[in-house]
């Protein structure tokens, strides 16, 4: 039975005790009863409140090393991501922190900003992690300014500085907001659904002085008072020649 040692890892089978795919129920029962401690099913990947949904569940395997430290391998993610630690828990944590760190680093980059190695790593992560699901389930955190335009009857109403009006449930607001009277201006850190823009909750609020739009005259005077390019000093230096 010849086997080719792959140049790059190409997982085509999933780890499971029973390879008999025709008897899924029996297999699920076997997995439920599986008593090994060196394998760990990973349905999704969580670090604190951050959740990366996997396209399909994976199983990690703990490989005790010759020394004190062992390795945690996961089909599809290794050998690019291999956890290291003295016990399976520590190695598993190391593995998920590597994924978390790399994902967050690359998630903030556009493809043209990535090196070839980063691009390959991102493709690997995209193949296994539902990136669109992650984006859509990760709330937008915004700083917004508004005022209480109605307090009674519940739900209360906020008018944001851009004119949007929104009804808010006290359950979604931090405690101090309950004491705000109509007309009170405040600044808020707001979590919104990244797809619909719906308010998920307000993390914090802080009273701010009343803000009013400038009158035409004031606005014009203010714009005039801003420094312009005509106030910049003259220079003999050339910007195009060395």
């Amino acid at each position: 039975m010849p086997i080719l040692v792959p140049m790059d890892m190409t997982p085509v089978i999933s780890h499971s005790w029973s390879s008999d795919q025709t008897d899924a129920l029996q297999q699920s029962e076997e997995l439920r009863r599986y008593s090994g401690t060196t394998s760990r099913p990973i349905p999704d990947l969580r670090v604190g409140v951050t959740c990366y949904r996997l396209r399909s569940p994976v199983v990690g395997s703990w490989l005790p090393g010759e020394g004190e430290s062992g390795e945690f391998w996961v089909d599809g993610f290794s050998p690019r991501f291999v956890g290291s630690g003295a016990v399976i828990d520590a190695a598993f944590d190391d593995w998920r922190y590597q994924i978390h760190e790399t994902f967050q680093d690359l998630y903030g980059k556009r493809a043209f900003e990535m090196s070839e190695a980063e691009l390959n790593t991102w493709r690997l992560l995209e193949d296994r992690i539902d990136v669109v699901g992650y984006r859509n389930s990760t709330p937008l955190i915004l700083r917004e300014v508004g005022w209480v335009s109605r307090a009674r009857p519940e739900p209360r109403q906020i008018t944001w500085s851009d004119g949007r009006r929104e009804r808010v449930d006290l359950e979604k607001m931090p405690g101090p907001f309950a004491a705000y009277k109509p007309g009170q201006w405040f600044e808020a850190v707001v979590e919104r659904d990244s797809v619909t823009g719906h308010l998920l909750r307000v993390v914090s609020v802080q009273r701010v002085p009343t803000m009013r739009p400038m009158s035409e005259g004031h606005l014009s005077k203010f714009l005039q008072s801003l420094p312009g390019t005509n106030e910049l000093p003259d220079s003999d230096e050339s910007w195009t020649e060395p």
């Binding site: 010849p2 086997i3 060196t38 005790p64 003295a86």
Partner: protein
């Protein structure tokens, strides 16, 4: 069969019991009551729960999610090094040894340690008998290689699967399960044999052999009866393991002549 480099990663013994007629409800309190006697040695605890969800489509077309109760599957405790594990389930006790740096302590040590824990289980839960025993070996065989090298598994293994070169070509991965007929209705051995990912430096090709020997209808709580069945299970796995390799494959484990 003395090997300087046995491929064992993990081995465990599982005792499945018929419960006492006055069995208590299986929950975390029940489990902790038993496990607290080992808390000095088994310092780390894991709790495995399970929950079943059913999604029903109503005549209106809406979907309703019915969440079942959260049930306790297992409580697992382990020592500080992660080399000894004790797992308690409903009518199940499992004792695991994970090999780390140093030698595998051997089957005798496994039996002695496992029996000690099982005797405590019997005193606490008073099962009527052992229904089934499972002895499980997880072996990881590492074959030195270089990236892109084609390895002929027939050079190392006598177990495997035959297939024509064309149109299959070389395998990149495989997984097979073998369940040989032992000739005994109550004793079975099975092998799950599969390839694993290459090592990070690609200098080793890894194969995993999951051996499981099951002894059904034990029907006893006696030390001698249980040890007898365990030794038979062990002998069956050992013989099958030994017969699975060519001399070149066997040499991977540095046998002591």
């Amino acid at each position: 069969m003395d090997l300087q480099k046995p491929p064992i990663v993990e081995v465990w013994v599982e005792f499945q019991c018929d419960p006492s007629p006055s069995k208590r409800r299986w929950d975390l309190d029940t489990a902790n009551e038993f496990l607290k006697q080992f808390s000095d040695y088994f310092v780390h605890t894991e709790v495995l729960n399970e929950q079943e969800f059913q999604i029903a489509t109503l005549p209106t077309g809406d979907r309703r999610l019915d969440a079942g109760e959260v049930r306790l599957n297992r409580v697992r405790v382990r020592d500080a090094e992660g080399t000894r594990w004790l797992q308690l389930g409903e009518d199940v006790l499992v004792y695991n040894i994970v090999k780390k740096a140093g030698a595998y302590p051997g089957f005798e040590t496994l039996c002695k340690d496992a029996w000690e824990k099982f005797a405590a289980y019997v005193r606490h839960f008073q099962p009527t008998c052992v229904r089934k025993l499972r002895l499980h070996y997880l072996d990881r065989v590492e074959i030195p290689c270089s990236p892109g090298e084609r390895i002929d598994l027939d050079e190392f293994f006598l177990v495997g699967v035959k297939f024509p070169d064309a149109p299959f070509g070389a395998l990149s991965r495989f997984a097979i399960q073998l369940a040989p007929d032992s000739g005994h209705a109550d004793d079975h051995v099975s092998l799950a044999f599969r390839s694993e990912q290459r090592s990070a430096d690609a200098k080793v090709s890894r194969m995993v052999m999951d051996w499981e020997a099951t002894s059904a209808n034990v029907g006893s709580l006696s030390h001698d009866d249980i040890m007898d069945r365990l030794e038979r299970a062990h002998a069956r796995i050992r013989d099958c393991f030994q017969a699975s390799f060519t001399p070149k494959g066997w040499a991977l484990f540095d046998p002591i002549e």
